[in-house]
Subunit: 266 residues, 2 copies
């Protein structure tokens, strides 16, 4: 996000991501100043409105700070919106770029964190990232035992899927927040919502003030995304690896690798 | 609801409807004292736990108080849960037993109330019940203009239907609460949820303390369900009329009509 209207109620309260006139996304967006399409951050220089410049705190490795501005703020913002803190019971479905940040940040805020996964394969990774336990969603006994056990479940699965198995895991007034899938969800039953006054919600990224807060929080707590730095000329290989889920957990392109590559600059 | 465990966290905070061990419903429920099936209120005498006895305030017509204990408390409880008060923008989908109480109670709490309906036929009824306007959900222009205009939408439609047209009507952080359909909902897109941090929830009836509060509120404000009183021997006819939506808005059976009918008592 590189711009917004700056005068609507959402912008004024620091929620530029919810700008009434639409925020300007970093790439493929409509630039409200130049009237051109925004070209993203893979370039030597980017011009943005000064209100959208963030300060990376000293000591926060630049390559690992990068994913905080998307996966990091998306999960941090919802953790703040739903008041997660010490003692909160948080579940995370999916352990990719968003999921691993959800685990780290929720744990950093003092929550009890459970990763939900179809198989036990991810147990070691989940615990290493700061989760307290792994709940295997294909184990009916484990799922039944976990009923009513969560204040918040963060669903990072990026495709159409069934929410019904997860809704009974929420406690009364608990919320499942969708951040992965952008599009249709499978048919959902209203029964677990009605019986437990449960909720299903979505959440976008966060505002600029909150993003700065996240950077400062991560620097002070030493919370960083797990990244693998690649050169620009490795981008196609990285895409292929991403498609087969061979990434832990985010690729970061070293923009210095662009220097000297006339082709890439062009 | 005639009983609950009385010792779980939900019962202790007066939310017996959310009792961890399940509340005892008035009919067809498992009576935790007698171990028999509960038989409902259509009888000369009902024995209930004293904590579940409510006081109908003087001056509140008994026949019109009856539906407050179901349609009334279901809508009142969610209006309180979502902090509806003066200035709240509330939408109501469906204008039956639940819907007409949602309109009256939301208006009674000072909210601006909009009834959402497929046709303009219900405009006069909606306004007479206290709504400020009717929004015709089949009119694309009216629906587009109404976008982001509601803090809360109460969906009382009692069958499987599509929520997607209604989600964009919610403002940022707004909630659509399902109280009609008990079962599967049509596929829902996560996009309006993500873009506006919107929520979909369900809500059951309310607790006993809140139900007493509702009775007192209705007596003091003169808010009453619209009812038609029938004799017990009219019950089959009433069922047929209900099936063709020929009821405004709740039938109430006069239990005095049971006296002298040996057959009905048997």
């Amino acid at each position: 996000m590189v711009d917004s209207c700056q005068h609507c109620d959402q912008c004024r309260r620091g929620e530029e991501q919810l700008c009434r006139e639409g925020n300007t996304v970093t790439y493929g967006g409509f630039d409200r100043v130049t009237q051109e399409m925004t070209q993203g951050g893979y370039s030597k220089h980017v011009v943005v409105r000064q209100e959208f410049v963030l300060r990376v705190p000293d000591g926060l490795d630049l390559s690992r700070a990068a994913p905080l501005l998307c996966a990091g703020i998306t999960t941090f913002s919802l953790l703040r919106t739903w008041n997660v803190g010490p003692g909160s019971r948080v579940g995370v479905i999916g352990l990719g770029g968003l999921g691993h940040m959800a685990v780290k940040l929720a744990a950093g805020l003092g929550a009890q964190v459970t990763v939900m996964s179809r198989t036990p394969n991810k147990r070691a990774d989940a615990l290493a990232l700061g989760a307290d336990r792994l709940l295997i969603s294909t184990d009916p006994d484990a799922m039944a035992q976990a009923a009513n056990g969560f204040d918040l479940i963060i669903d990072t699965v990026p495709n159409k899927h069934d929410l019904n198995p997860y809704l009974p895991l929420l406690d009364v007034d608990g919320t499942l927040v969708i951040v992965g899938q952008i599009g249709p969800m499978d048919e959902m039953s209203s029964v677990p919502l009605l019986l437990g006054r449960r909720r299903v919600a979505g959440s976008p990224i966060g505002g600029i003030r909150e993003t700065q807060e996240l950077l400062d929080f991560c620097a002070s707590k030493g919370i960083l995304p797990e990244t693998e730095t690649i050169r620009m000329d490795q981008i196609n290989e990285a895409f292929e690896r991403m498609e087969r889920s061979d990434v832990r957990y985010r690729f970061v392109i070293d923009m210095a690798s662009l220097e000297g590559s006339a082709e890439a600059v062009a």
